[in-house]
Amino acid sequence: MSTANPSELDFSPAPERAPQARLVRPSLSYWQDAWRRLRLNPRAMISLAIVVGLLVFTLVGPMLWRLDPANQDLEQLSIPPGAARTAHIVEPYTAWRREATPGTGLRLASEATTQSVRLVWDAHPSARAFEVFRDIYPPTHPPTQSTQDALGIPLGEISPQDGLAFEDRLALEPITYYYHVVPVGAGNRLLSDARETIEVEVTRAITLEEATQRGLVSTGKKTQVGDEVELAWHPLGTDYLGRDMLARLMYGARVSLFIGIVAPFLYVLLGVAYGSLAGFVGGATDQTLMRFADFVVALPFLLFMILFKVLFGIGPGESGIIPMLIALVILGWPATARLVRGQILQIREESYVSAARLMGSPTGYLIARHMIPNTLGVILVTLTFAIPSAIFTEAFLSFIGMGVAPPTPSWGSMSNEGIKTMLVSPHELILPAIFISVTVLAFNLLGDGLRDALDARMRSVE
């Protein structure tokens, strides 16, 4: 046998074999694998795109839309998005001499503009005086019904000696008004049966001087009375003080996202440090540290948010963002600390850690190589879920008036202002509310996606 007497042939290299199909897939690191999984999740990817879009909106937006969010456009208060913004150039206001106006019944003496609405009517036999009302809603009740509240705001009482006319100059908006003139009989009783109503469509007017001041008139061509000019453009409308909604939403995003991202980042970091300390040291230190964390958890969160916010105070001219940030960090860390401690305790007992220790790895290496990479996924997921709750907290506090100080816009404070005029100009509430909801939704879905991608054990049941 050749085994007994090895020949020369046995020591020569074997002939090269034909290469076989390689079945090895490229080796992926943990993060590459997570990214691959995340990319397959359309919901998470859309959310990621929304988050990036929001960041662009906040950081790049104000550079493109250079309008001061505190700037007031008094010509356009509470203007909904896409509203007409033409204005007629009119003569400067002059006092009304109450010339005779042809016609009968309640009628207009001149064209109704935002400068003034001039009403004229006829005498009524039993009228001691006339009460003038203005309403923004069409009259719902028949004139026989003597309901005063259905007439809108009372503008004034006119005595017939002063002439049967009334001029309204009270905060006129370019919308449709319903004017009611009700005769007042003996004993100050409103004679609702004899009520007269007129529907007045008010056009926006601006004097040439004002238009020139605001730079609405192009210098090249001659503009005169009767011409139309375009007022400043507000793509998303204005709020009740005439401030541009788009600019305010951008600056508001700055506040909301700053608090929403920085605060969780800081408190998760604090929680990681605290939790890993407790987990590593163990024993009595661990017990004490975690008991303290339990106490902090038991503090009624919102009450203490408000208390701490007041404690760190708002000086004059400050916006109150930093106090809110500190308060969030102080109250937010224990959840992460608990989680990280649990993770560390678990990983410490894993066999690969024992194996590494057996082979003589120093503690530093164990922490850097095994502990941190293995908790990072969980920490990242916690962070993503902490962001929406921080955004909520900011919005909540600003909403109840304990958040950022007034001139600074934040989505929460904008909602707070918008809710007061919800029925008349809904866009002032809807826009910031949509921004909050979409942001929170995006971070929630991204968090879900990250959890599925990063941590097999926490994968949600589908």
């Binding site: 503090l299 009624p300 109840i400 909602s415 809710i419 909801s437 049941v461």
Partner: protein, 310 residues
């Protein structure tokens, strides 16, 4: 069980002490005090007022008096509302917040269990998809938006029907309570639905369900007796913290619906630095929440014998 209860109660008391102490010191480090408004015009008046409220004593003595008063159930007199005791304020306004909160929790729990069970039953089919979409929406929309929407739909409804079916705001009857409570419970309901769904799905694959099936029980019986009863357990565990979130979260809903609850008083007292009202409400709320959580845990122990063994 008794040992466990006692231990939890002692822990709870220590927690309340911690809350009280934190509030006290945070309060006293806030710049300014309740007397730094127009009332204390001269040095003499200020001194008299300080003596009346015990603010002239050193801080540790104030702290001692404060703790002693809390222990005897006296939360002091309000600084800004003449001669009004904090106990009275709480007695008057807490039941309002509590009624709202309790109803909200009931709505949230019932809704969460119902929707969660439904989604698990119709897993990956139309009802599941629709409900889960609503759940994601429910978690993402802030409560004040729900409150505004709730109010808006009430206005529209009343306007449309021509009669006031449900009042839009205010307080006084059960009708006033319904919509605010529903609005307040929505967020928690969404959260509980999610929890209930995953716990239902887990239970569906459990051995005892397979055994029940093998024994030939019908599907309804298995669903009610085995799946539902077991799946509810995790929902009950989070009910304690949920009560906490709901009762303090009531601030916004109280604000929007003009409900005279405790929340408004708290915000007001913080703005006016009304020491006693702030400390009183915080300690009261803190204590309430701590013992709610303990109560829920103890009830849980009664329902599920497994947790009693600690």
């Amino acid at each position: 069980m008794w040992r466990y209860t006692l231990k939890r109660l002692i822990q709870g008391l220590i927690t309340v002490w911690f809350i009280a102490t934190t509030t006290f010191f945070v309060m006293h480090f806030v710049p300014g005090d309740p007397l730094s408004d127009a009332r204390a015009t001269s040095e003499q008046i200020r001194e008299n007022l300080e003596a009346r409220y015990g603010l002239d004593k050193p801080l540790y003595q104030q702290y001692y008096i404060y703790l002693r008063n809390i222990a005897s159930g006296d939360l002091g007199i309000s600084f800004t509302q003449q001669n009004r005791e904090v106990n009275d304020i709480i007695r008057e306004h807490f039941p309002v917040s509590a009624a709202l909160g309790v109803l909200a929790v009931v709505f949230a729990a019932l809704g969460g269990i119902l929707w969660g069970a439904l989604t698990a039953l119709f897993r990956n089919r139309m009802p599941d998809v629709v409900i889960m979409f609503l759940v994601v929406l429910g978690v993402s929309v802030p409560s004040f938006v729900f409150a505004a929407l709730g109010q808006l739909s009430l206005v529209t409804l009343n306007d449309w029907l021509g009669v006031s079916v449900l009042p839009v705001a205010g307080w006084g009857s059960v009708q006033h309570l319904l919509v605010p409570a529903l609005v307040l419970g929505l967020g928690t309901m969404a959260f509980l639905t999610r929890l209930m769904r995953s716990s239902m799905l887990e239970v569906t694959n459990a051995d005892y369900v397979r055994t029940a099936k093998a024994k030939g029980l019908n599907a309804t019986q298995i669903f009610i007796r085995h799946q539902l009863r077991n799946a509810i357990l995790p929902v009950i565990t989070v009910l304690g913290p949920a009560i906490a979130t709901i009762t303090t979260g009531g601030f916004v809903v109280e604000l929007v619906f003009a409900i005279p609850g405790l929340g408004r008083f708290f915000v007001q007292s913080v703005q006016q630095l009304d020491y006693t009202v702030i400390m009183g409400t915080t300690v009261f709320y803190g204590g309430f929440l701590v013992f709610m959580v303990i109560a829920v845990d103890l009830v849980y122990g009664l329902i599920d014998p497994r947790v009693r063994v600690e």
